[in-house]
């Protein structure tokens, strides 16, 4: 019966305006992440930043497969030669190719950034969730710990711990990996507080909401409510904080290397390369400037990306 009525409706050619509207209709529904993606793509600087960052990651991890120059190969015929076709970033005081060293060093610098971020974010998420969910005494205690960590002199403390503990750690894990472990752990341990505060605030505002009550009613366990139901709501600010933390960690690591308390001298992290280049600032400025510019560009890209993510993930800016 109903089919016949539909059949009876004469097919009308849609007008031009309707056709135009149809072009904008997509068959798939709009989703939270789809919206965020669209907003992110509209943020020009964030887009440029992400592309640069992806390029750096590929260059650093896959570049050495194509640019087959040994970062440790000495060439006494080309000491401190300025950038040329043969050595695109020039050579250092021992004739080593700076591009090869920058590519190798970038692996360490980026890895430090990402690992330190993971430590800081996981610590901050767990502490913030516990403080916000349980409230009361636990919350007060944990927030005092946050205040305490915020008052710690970060850079002196980093200098101190890396300097004091490097001998046994290096003995146990090897020179590069050992220093990597201390630097990453210490940067992470001194940087979780912002995330903890963000996560706690989300928990405080959501834990009395109906959906949490509903989850409790159907008998879902506490940890599952915390991490499966409430935490996903804090995901956007956590992602933003995580992005920015990578940049901070890279700057901190390079500062440590600059002050002479980072990776061993023959390990070419970007910060280390800058430090080694300072002695030749007048004769061969590219030695310090190129790795310095790489740090700067990486961190700048990360910060632009973080800004774009903040705009994209903020529900208040939803169109």
């Amino acid at each position: 019966m109903s089919e016949r009525i539909i059949d009876a409706i004469p097919t009308v050619e849609p007008s031009a305006a309707v056709k135009q509207l149809e072009q904008h209709l997509s068959s798939t529904p709009r989703t939270l992440w789809g919206d965020a993606w669209r907003r992110f793509m509209r943020h020009r600087l964030a887009l440029i930043g992400s592309v640069t960052l992806i390029f750096f990651f590929f260059a650093v991890y896959l570049g050495p497969l194509f640019y087959r120059v040994d970062p440790e190969a000495l060439d006494f015929n080309a000491l401190l030669s300025s950038p040329s076709l043969q050595h695109p970033f020039g050579t250092d005081d021992l004739g080593r190719d700076v591009l090869a060293r920058c590519l190798y060093g970038g692996r360490i610098s980026l890895a430090v950034g990402v690992m330190a971020m993971l430590i800081a974010i996981s610590l901050g998420t767990v502490i913030g969730s516990v403080a916000g969910f349980f409230g009361g005494k636990t919350d007060q205690l944990l927030m005092r710990v946050v205040d305490l960590f915020l008052a710690l002199p970060v850079l002196p403390l980093l200098l101190l711990t890396v300097y004091l503990f490097r001998v046994p750690v290096v003995k146990a894990f090897g020179p590069v990996f050992g220093i990597f472990l201390i630097v990453v752990t210490m940067i992470g341990v001194l940087a979780w507080m912002t995330t903890a505060r963000i996560v706690r605030a989300t928990f405080l505002s959501l834990k009395e909401k109906e959906f949490v009550e509903a989850a409790r009613c159907v008998g879902i366990g506490r940890s599952s409510i915390m991490f499966g139901h409430i935490l996903p709501n804090a995901l956007s600010p956590i992602i933003v904080a995580a992005t920015l933390e990578v940049g901070n960690a890279i700057i901190t690591e390079s500062t440590l290397s600059f002050l002479g308390v980072g990776f061993p001298p023959d390990t070419p992290t970007w910060g280390r390369l800058v430090t080694d280049g300072i002695n030749y600032l007048q004769t061969a400025p590219w030695l310090a400037l190129i790795p310095g510019a790489l740090i700067f560009l990486t961190v700048l890209s990360i910060n632009f990306m973080g800004d774009g993510l903040r705009d994209a993930l903020d529900p208040r800016s939803r169109l």
Partner: protein
């Protein structure tokens, strides 16, 4: 109000106690023997070394040493420097004015530059001025301070020769000529810190202003017929500065971190430079004292910020 100030001060004391305990524990538990510098000296036998240890009180367990250090420190005695052979306090008193001068003037200049930029950026959101300001502030907090320093040295000291490369600490300001010399040698280190600080402060001011501009009280002020600049400065700005005060206080550790870098780059003989030399000399009493002083300064500025916050926003006094 006085009760609020008292409560804040009382909260600062346990914070400092815990921080000093953590610092002391790190120094005490770190592997390595403070007497190791004598290990290769044939005229110092193992027995003499033991005696020296006992004379310095290093044979006692570290919690006891901490209590002793704490009681002495409370009376203003921070111990003797191993390297300089003078009381740590005298050493620090010699060094701290340079640090505070450089950090302080950078900070004041940053406030003078950042607040107007932040205000204009917020009032004319998305204008060309705002976009340029935003872009530069991103550059400002993406660039590691040692890299800004290197660039400034290369451009203004090496190429143009406008400013000295190295800070001369023997200079005494007696007349206009030496005053001018002092200004010139402070210019580059101050600029490095200024760039770092201005970037963050501009962002804080801008976003705090943007939070306040759509408020009802602003509309009320405008509908009363107040002039535009009165509304912006008297009403919006004074309310926006409240959160900025806290953010400034949270940024204090970063400023001192930056001071460590600039002092080492420009050879300013402040306490940041002293910290690095002391770490490299294993001069434990000085290291302990300086890291603790950084912590004290941080807690102190946080306290000031809390009190200022209480004055500006009466609501926090009663929470």
């Amino acid at each position: 109000m006085s009760q609020y100030i008292l409560r804040r001060c009382l909260l600062a004391i346990p914070t400092l106690l815990v921080i000093s305990f953590v610092l002391f524990a790190i120094l005490a538990l770190a592997p390595g023997d403070p007497m190791s510098q004598f290990a290769l000296n044939p005229s110092v036998t193992a027995e003499v070394r033991e005696n020296m240890k006992r004379a310095l009180g290093l044979d006692q367990p570290w919690p006891i040493r901490y209590v002793k250090w704490l009681t002495a420190a409370a009376q203003g005695n921070l111990g003797y420097s191993f390297a300089a052979k003078i009381p740590v306090l005298t050493l620090i008193q010699q060094r701290i004015p340079q640090t505070l001068w450089v950090v302080g003037s950078a900070f004041l200049l940053a406030l003078l530059v950042a607040i107007p930029i932040g205000v204009i950026s917020a009032v004319k959101q998305y204008s060309v001025f705002d976009q340029i300001g935003t872009f530069f502030s991103f550059i400002g907090f993406s660039v590691p301070s040692f890299f800004t320093g290197l660039l400034l040295i290369l451009i203004f000291a090496v190429k143009l020769g406008w400013f000295p490369i190295v800070y001369s600490s023997t200079l005494k300001v007696e007349n206009w000529a030496t005053f001018w010399q002092q200004v010139r040698q402070m210019a580059l280190p101050v600029t490095v810190l200024l760039i770092q600080q201005t970037a963050a402060l501009t962002r804080f001011t801008r976003s705090a202003m943007l939070d306040n501009i759509p408020m009802d009280y602003v509309r009320t002020a405008r509908s009363k017929g107040l002039a535009d600049h009165t509304v912006v400065i008297r009403h919006v700005l004074s309310n926006s500065l409240i959160p900025v005060v806290t953010l400034i206080a949270l940024g204090i550790p970063a400023i001192f971190g930056g001071a460590i870098v600039t002092e080492n780059l420009f050879r300013v003989n402040g306490i940041g430079a002293l910290l690095i030399t002391s770490i490299n000399n294993s001069d434990t009493p000085v290291v302990m004292a300086i890291t603790f002083i950084f912590a004290v300064l941080t807690v102190l500025f946080n306290l000031v910020a809390d009190i200022v916050y209480g004055v500006l926003d009466p609501r926090v006094r009663y929470s």
